[in-house]
């Protein structure tokens, strides 16, 4: 359809690019999903083939659910991800509010210092972190992972949220002050609801790396009862024999919770943008 601002040519081209990108992005997920429903021979004979009556098998899922403490791993991953996200959002937003709202001495310096974490990967400090965790007795606890992930997520959260908080109307905050609201109430009741889209963005950015991380669980919490899902799935990958059915099934199931969390946050994202605030 041709309108003043759009011709069918550009529409088709735009969609072609987007569809191509979607296919590329989704292809690995698709391959994992179809192969998780096939028997072992079919995975190797025809990796890209869809499961049919002959090759269809749930053996991978059966192995995963029977062997290994899959639900425990699942629960561990969930606890670590949700608690870390909560702490990142809470402390990140508070720090961002302080940086954006109050002109204290060293404000800019503090902002830069906090932003430094975006540029320096936390894994550089792994050895030091491990030493700290050992001396505080936090090795093999979920707390260790939560602390590390919170530290890892804070710099970007503070950076993004403080930019957004600078955009919140000063008049609104001042109106709250004149009406006698405390700074905490101004933060929680007036400012936070207005930066909800930014909070959702930060949550989405942080959620997937935390959920997928293998490095820190492997180093800080390898014990059986605190294994995360990614680490737990490794039991099926052996040095000589790998149970591909089980690995693919475990990965397929691991996709679900992230997808659910993503849907929740992206809803917030859209709602935050469309709800009218000031003016």
């Amino acid at each position: 359809m041709n309108t003043a601002r759009r011709t069918s040519g550009t529409t088709v081209a735009a969609h072609a690019v987007l569809i191509l990108y979607t296919i590329i992005a989704l292809f690995p997920v698709f391959v994992i999903l179809i192969n998780s429903f096939k028997d072992r021979r079919a995975i190797f004979r025809d990796p890209l083939g869809l499961p049919n009556a002959e090759t269809f098998s749930l053996i991978g899922y059966e192995t995963v659910l029977k062997q290994g403490d899959f639900f425990l791993y699942f629960q561990n991953s969930m606890i670590v991800t949700v608690v870390s996200l909560f702490l990142i959002l809470l402390f990140g937003a508070m720090a961002a509010f302080a940086l954006a709202e109050y002109g204290f001495r060293g404000n800019t310096l503090m902002g830069l210092y906090l932003a430094l974490g975006i540029m320096i990967p936390i894994r550089i400090g792994t050895v030091a972190i491990l030493e700290m965790m050992v001396s505080t007795g936090l090795v093999n606890t979920l707390t260790a992972l939560i602390l590390v992930y919170t530290a890892q997520g804070l710099p970007l959260a503070v950076f993004i949220l403080s930019e957004f908080m600078k955009g919140v109307s000063d008049d609104l905050k001042n109106a709250g002050r004149i009406d006698g609201l405390s700074e905490y109430k101004i933060f929680f009741r007036l400012v936070l609801p207005l930066v909800r889209p930014a909070m959702a963005t930060v949550a989405v950015f942080n959620m997937i790396p935390i959920w997928n991380d293998l490095w820190f669980p492997l180093i800080l919490a390898p014990a059986e009862e605190v294994k995360t899902l990614t680490l737990g799935s490794q039991v099926f990958i052996g040095q000589f024999v790998t149970d591909w059915n089980a690995v693919l099934s475990a990965l397929s199931m691991a996709i679900l919770p992230v997808m659910i969390l993503y849907v929740i946050f992206s809803r917030q994202l859209i709602r935050g943008i469309t709800s009218g605030a000031v003016k």
Partner: protein
Amino acid sequence: MTALKLTNVNKSFGPVHVLKDINLTVEEGEFVVFVGPSGCGKSTLLRVIAGLVDASSGTIEIGGDVVNTVPPAKRGIAMVFQSYALYPHLTVKDNMGLGLKQEGRAKSIVEDRVAKASKMLDLDRYLSRRPAELSGGQRQRVAIGRAIVRDPKLFLFDEPLSNLDAALRMNTRVEIAALHRTLSASMIYVTHDQIEAMTLADKIVVLRDGRIEQVGSPMELYNNPANRFVAGFLGSPSMNFLQSSVPGLAPGQTIGIRPEHLTLSEGGQINGKVTHVERLGGDTNLLVVTDADETLTVRLFGQDQTNVGAAIRLAFDPAHAFYFNDAEERVYQNAA
């Protein structure tokens, strides 16, 4: 009793000196308008009075008490903002009642005051709505209602009409004036619009670059401006300033004549050519370039038939002319 007294108030943001030695008294029940071009410090001054910004030096007294270290909520003030600044998650009723609720007043008192204010502002029908469901004018009335409910010693208005369209602005202006009569409360009103200043004020404070240029009633300032800035700022269209078109001026001296004090006359002293005509029905504005290449505006009452390009001669009454020296200060002299 004085509602507000400022003594030697200064404010600097780092190296920038925004308010310079402000001294001002607002009497009880007075409507005071701060007016000036943008960046002159009028909004900062209002925020200093409200306690949202701390003064660098000087004292602020509200109702006889020094309030320099008193938080905004306890200063007995209420403020209406340009952007309305309503709480988006609260209904109109809760928006208006929040201040009292925070003070810990009884529910019945809050209800009572909100009901009274909403009746005054004709907001009864909207009490259960949220700000997003109101029009701009309604939102501003809610913001004003929120101020009334607190029953403050001093009302502060920060350009409350700037976001409204022209017709609504006029109505709301009349409403604010009526409100001032009914409540007979002390009010401070910040605007850059000289029409709002002239129509609302008991007393106008003209600010420029963080300094008070002149304080007085609207007619005092109009008839007797202290300097060229005040003369040029008040009055619409603004005053004409001429240096070379009028004979008999000392070097460096400028004469100021308001557009309405110029008349078309065969024996006039100023020769010029009409470059543009604005016919408003009630008035006609002529834009004229004089022979000495200065532009001026002439405001003629009624519908004038002068056309673009016409050569005209203009006369003025020396009694209505103002003289300024090259430092832009007013010079008093008998008719030249």
